[in-house]
């Protein structure tokens, strides 16, 4: 057997183990939406912690992060530490606990449902779902790209990019279609623990080969003295703060993370998870990202479009170990992607499809003397109602739609991954920025009863339009006032619009601010 075969065998073997776990979970799954999407809100501390953690542990952190510390210095640890260990943890409470309480009281499964119900607006619900699916796309693509690169790097190009990217696509489709949240959560736990163990083993192995951390850092001080000084180069104050804030706020609105806010089995689980969060972040990010920085000092060369982690492993450890780490990383990407696809599917069916089919129940007839505006409104409704009647749903059709949605979405992002330019960090950063535009309007809505439907439309719509323009239109700049990113500027704009327009408008009929006034739940 050649080394390549052994390596591929290790990666394949891991995938099979994950699949078996998915099948076991499948056998324990009721066929209800609550169980499929939320494991019936029963996730305990360890599983919730690791499932959220593993979801964050994507190609972005595992390959992109070390690549960045390799080229720009280890300060990325601080960016990710503040964002993930501190700001996200605080949002876990402020946004997550609030959403959990509201979700427990009203039975919400998606963010769109929660907002749509409060503001009496199907359009808002659909808008939030559509925006989320839009920004989910590049992030799923990022995982496929990461997997493709990983396989190329592992086999020295013997296996082409599309095989790795396509393989993981196929795997995640099958996996999501079969197992639902319970299976996803279980494999996430396995993967989270595995990743932590592997990364420490990798650091121990490499450091013992080069003479310990002091020797490794001394080499770095010779080749890249600038890396050891805090800040400088890429890392300006504005960059560090913008990136940490934008990613932390963005993460909370990722469908797969946001849906986690609904799934804890009890308050106790949320509390424990909060306290463990910063420690877990330190345990993972410090060794993973220092590996990238040390690799620069050790003169490890990274092939074009390759990643530094497999490169340094190949140089200092055994081939089989590199394969195990790559398997772990691919598993992490898979668990990110399958959670994303699962949550994406629930957004698609519950927030986009179901509201349209529900319209079938409505009566689009007009009173005798209606204004022109009302006539236009009613005609639009009539068209929507006939569409709803046409699609008239039954559960089978909805389930089929969810599965078909996953297949189409994953296939399209796979095709895009073959052509998309940009590094893993750039792609990820753009997606995080897009989601971050949703966070402040949602927070305002949760805590400020005076928020109106029009305030939400303006805040969400305005911030998205601005951010989209900064990403896609060359004449709209991507940074402002000496380095603040468009994402942070857009967040401020969204906040100002939400509050300003809410103050200028009155609550429409159908809005119910009391929906979010919830007290603690007894019997923990």
């Amino acid at each position: 057997m050649t080394e390549t075969t052994i390596k591929l065998g290790i990666v394949g073997g891991y995938m099979v183990v994950a699949a078996v776990i998915g099948l076991v979970a499948y056998r324990l799954t009721d066929r209800t939406a609550e169980d499929y999407y939320l494991a019936s809100r029963t996730l305990g501390t360890v599983v919730l912690l690791f499932t959220t953690f593993a979801t964050l542990l994507s190609a972005f952190t595992f390959f992109g992060g070390p690549n960045l510390t390799y080229s720009a210095g280890p300060e990325w640890i601080l960016v990710m530490g503040v964002m993930d260990g501190i700001i996200f943890a605080i949002l876990w409470y402020v946004l997550g606990y609030k959403q959990w309480l509201v979700g427990q009281h009203h039975g919400y499964v998606t963010l769109g449902e929660m907002l749509g119900d409060r503001f009496g607006s199907r359009a808002l619900r659909g808008l939030v779902a559509a925006i989320s699916l839009f920004w989910l796309f590049p992030y799923v693509m990022l995982q496929q790209k990461g997997a493709g690169q990983a396989i190329v790097g592992l086999t020295d190009g013997a296996v082409p990019f599309w095989v790795g990217a396509g393989g993981i696509t196929l795997f995640m489709i099958v996996y999501v279609a079969v197992s639902g949240m319970r299976g996803v959560a279980w494999t996430d736990t396995l993967q989270g623990i595995l990743m932590l163990g592997l990364i420490w083993a990798a650091v121990a192995w490499i450091l013992s080969a080069v003479g310990g951390p002091t020797a490794a850092t001394a080499r770095l001080a010779e080749t890249n003295p600038e890396f050891l000084a805090l800040g400088g180069g890429l890392y300006t104050h504005e960059y560090v703060i913008s990136t940490a804030v934008s990613i932390a706020f963005g993460v909370t609105m990722f469908p797969q993370i946001n849906q986690r806010f609904f799934v804890a089995s009890s308050e106790k689980v949320l509390k424990r998870t909060l306290a463990l969060w910063p420690v877990l972040v330190v345990l993972l990010f410090v060794p993973a990202f220092m590996l990238g920085a040390w690799a620069a000092g050790l003169g490890v060369t990274v092939p074009e479009n390759g990643n530094v982690v497999p490169a340094i492993l190949n140089e200092y450890t055994a081939g089989w170990f590199t394969a195990v780490v790559v398997a772990g990383a691919m598993a992490a990407m898979m668990s990110s992607s399958d959670s994303m696809l699962l949550s994406g599917a629930s957004y698609l069916t519950r927030d986009l499809y179901r509201p349209v089919t529900d319209l079938a129940e409505e009566d689009p007839s007009l009173p005798d003397r209606a204004s022109l505006a009302n006539r236009i409104r009613r005609s639009a409704l009539a068209a929507a109602v006939s569409l709803g009647r046409l699609l008239r749903s039954d559960r089978d059709r909805e389930t089929l739609l969810a599965r078909a949605g996953v297949v189409v979405f994953a296939t399209l992002s796979f095709v895009a991954s073959l052509y998309a330019p940009g590094t893993l960090v750039e792609i990820g950063d753009t997606a995080f920025g897009g989601f971050a535009q949703l966070t402040l309007p949602v927070l305002v809505a949760l805590y400020w009863a005076r928020t109106t439907r029009w305030g939400m439309y303006a805040g969400i719509g305005g911030a998205q339009l601005f951010y989209l323009a900064s990403v896609f239109l060359p004449m709209v700049p991507g940074s402002y006032l000496g380095g603040w990113s468009a994402s942070v500027v857009g967040m401020v704009l969204g906040l100002v619009l939400t509050v300003g327009v809410s103050l200028a408008t009155d609550a429409a009929s159908g809005e119910d601010a009391t929906v979010y006034t919830v007290s603690a739940i007894e019997g923990d």
């Binding site: 402020v94 309480l101 199907r122 850092t217 050891l228 560090v240």
Partner: protein
């Protein structure tokens, strides 16, 4: 009177935790070590600060879950007046 001092206490508590949260975020990057490149035991000093701070933050979060949990989130926290006094008529805008 009792209710009033109770209210004040709650306000102070909430403000205290909020200030604590801001401090935890702000000091997790050692801004005072900017451009410093001292290495201690194989890692930059600024990284040790960050690691230590995150561990302290963990303890801080643990203390919060014990003594402050629920502040600002559970009901009573929603500021402003509910806007649906004229009846929660169920309607949508489309």
């Amino acid at each position: 009177m009792t209710t009033r001092s109770e209210g004040t206490r709650q306000h102070l508590e909430r403000a205290g935790w909020a200030i604590g949260a801001v401090v935890v975020v702000a000091a997790s990057i050692p801004w005072f070590l900017w451009r410093d490149s001292t290495v201690v035991a194989g890692l930059p000093l600024w990284l040790w600060w960050h690691v230590g701070w995150l561990c302290l933050a963990s303890l801080g979060f643990l203390a919060f879950t014990r003594y402050g949990w629920g502040i600002g989130v559970e009901s009573g926290a929603t500021i402003g007046s509910p806007t649906t006094e004229d009846g929660p008529e169920v309607r949508t805008d489309d």
